[in-house]
Amino acid sequence: MLRIRRFEEACAQLYTQTKIRGFLHLYIGEEAVAVGVLEGLLPEDAVVATYREHGHALIRGVPATAIMAEMYGKATGCSGGRGGSMHLFHAPTRFYGGNAIVAGGLPIAVGLALADAMQGRSVVTACFFGEGAVAEGEFHECMNLAALWHLPVLFCCENNLYAMGTALARSESETNLAVKAAAYEVPAWTVDGMDVLAVEEAARRAIDAVRNGGGPHFLELRTYRFRAHSMFDPERYRAKDEVEEWRHRDPLEVLWAVLESEGIADEAERDRAEEAAAAEVAEAVAFAEAAPWEPVETLERFVYSDESSVHDVLASSPLGPGGRRR
């Protein structure tokens, strides 16, 4: 959690320095969700996330250097610099986005799970999305399809109470989201998303059930983002008091209180964790700063796979690639 927090604080700062451009959606305040769920996954499992996914990528094992370079748009970023903050991908850790359409990742998660089921693999696909996605038709189509086909997906709804700037009660007739999933015969729980231990316990139980053939499961993780929706958001839609109130439930402090009261960790240990996080962030920033830009000559790469013969047709056109005049 601390790694995510410090990494993203650095991102915010780099954004104001215009080192990072485009949209930047910070996860600060929601760290317990990604950490608690991903803790229970195995390397062969798949993860599908949204545009607020830096923390998920980091915990999943995508190197901080590659994530930061991606934020910068550098060639050595985890998506070759072409995705940016909203489109982190990392095939080696089965990290499939990075989807900037709020419910866009759900069908992909269903398909990944279908592929695992059809190939007899005991693999779980964890799909993260915000509560804004619940208002999209794709959410309902996917709950139905996953339940109908009994697919191994763990749907993790990160309910931070605001779909961009619209409060849940202003966008949903039924604000109990677990009820919606349950309507599709998907076992569903609501969990305190500010308590990493509670998330971890609920997620582990759900992941075990999914892995053991229990079909799709749904977790509504009640959380809160301490920052605005994106760096462009003037945040006029929620009261400062409300944000302050939730800040008292900071997942880092909630966990720290437990660790301290149980005698598991002391201040020195916390300092060491801070130092390690700071070092990781510093290394990531240095890596991104030094990383090369992709040359403009390779702009048209990765539109089609290299082995595709589409390239030959485009190249042989009298008008040049893409019909452009040479």
Binding site: H87, G98, P107, L112, M118, Q119, C142, S305
Partner: protein, 329 residues
């Protein structure tokens, strides 16, 4: 061997399911019902409900699931009943299938085939009859192909399945009963190149899909009037093989584009532009276009027929182009 376009497509599907255990078919009514257009009739019984998979009427979810399944190592063939319905899955097709390879810096390719019908002529009215394949041909990252012959109906699917990137296969609804000879050993066909279906010297007619049989009939009629029409079947709408059709126009010096899509901002506009860019100094006349009248397609037969280009329209347009062209005589 005499077969129909529908049977050729079915043989292609069966062949794909037999050859590669990673291949499966999913879509609305593809299984127990036998396919909305009876293309997959019998495959459910032959391959079972896992590999010939009926879906709910949830285009976005099952097309997106096809993308996920492709990422997960399978080779899905997704059937969407008509191009009109594919719009419900447009987000998945455009924002994911077409872009994942690029956004991921080359890590995630999507070997997915999406089949759908397109086109009018069957009195199905405005929500089942449109020719929107040109929209998909606009999108980098996709490949769009349109089989207009039995050979292509039989052979394009297999080549499409070998493509590491998403391929959209547009079957014209009016061609399903097209009947003719097909070699028993007909196999995969090239999906990169356009084909000259008839050689000619006076003009080039550039077309694809459901318009091809009409254009061929028109060319036959024109031959009786001593007008020699060369017919180019695009076959692939993206990437456009302009080497073939521009090359043809440099020989015939006149071009007529016949497209069942609408004229404005459509396939015909793109083709006409490319002919002009690539063969301007070889042209004896401006490029002509014959397209569907710009109305949502009406239900009554006489109005639908009037809206969609017919054989006589092609003949008249070709005649006017050849006889009225500034380069003539």
């Amino acid at each position: 061997m005499t077969v129909t376009y529908r049977e050729a497509l079915r043989d292609a599907l069966r062949d794909a399911l037999v050859r590669d255990p990673r291949v499966f078919l999913m879509g609305e009514d593809v299984g127990r019902y036998g396919g909305c257009f009876a293309v997959s009739m019998g495959l459910y019984e032959e391959f079972g409900p896992e590999r010939v998979r009926d879906t709910p009427l949830s285009e976005s979810a099952f097309v997106g699931a096809g993308i996920g399944a492709a990422l997960g190592g399978l080779r899905p063939i997704v059937e969407v009943m008509t191009v009109n319905f594919s719009l419900l899955a447009l987000d998945q097709i455009l924002n994911n299938a077409a872009t994942l390879l690029h956004m991921s810096g080359g890590q995630l390719n999507v070997p997915l085939v999406i089949r759908m019908t397109t086109g009018g002529g069957r009195q199905l009215a405005a929500q089942h009859s449109h020719s929107l394949e040109g929209w998909y041909a606009h999108i980098p990252g996709l490949r769009a192909v349109a089989p207009a012959t039995l050979e292509d109906a039989r052979g394009m699917l297999w080549t499409a399945l070998e493509d590491p990137d998403p391929v959209l296969l547009f079957e014209h609804g009016g061609l399903y009963n097209l009947e003719g000879e097909l070699a028993p050993d007909a196999g995969p066909v090239d999906i990169d190149r356009a084909a000259v279906r008839r050689a000619g010297t006076d003009l080039t007619v550039i077309t694809y899909g459901g318009m091809l049989p009409k254009v061929m009939a028109a060319a036959e009629q024109l031959a009786g009037e001593r007008i020699s029409a060369e017919v180019v079947d695009l076959r692939t709408l993206r990437p456009l093989d302009d080497a073939t059709f521009v090359g043809s126009v440099t020989r015939t010096h006149r071009a007529l584009v016949v497209d069942e899509g609408w004229r404005s901002v459509g396939m015909s506009a793109e083709i006409a532009a490319r002919v002009t860019e690539g063969a301007f100094y070889d042209l004896d006349a401006p490029v002509e276009r014959l397209c569907t009248t710009e109305v949502p397609l009406p239900h009554p037969k006489h109005l639908e027929d009037a809206a969609i280009p017919q054989v006589d329209d092609v003949v008249a347009a070709a005649r006017a182009l050849v006889q009225g062209g500034p380069g003539d005589g």
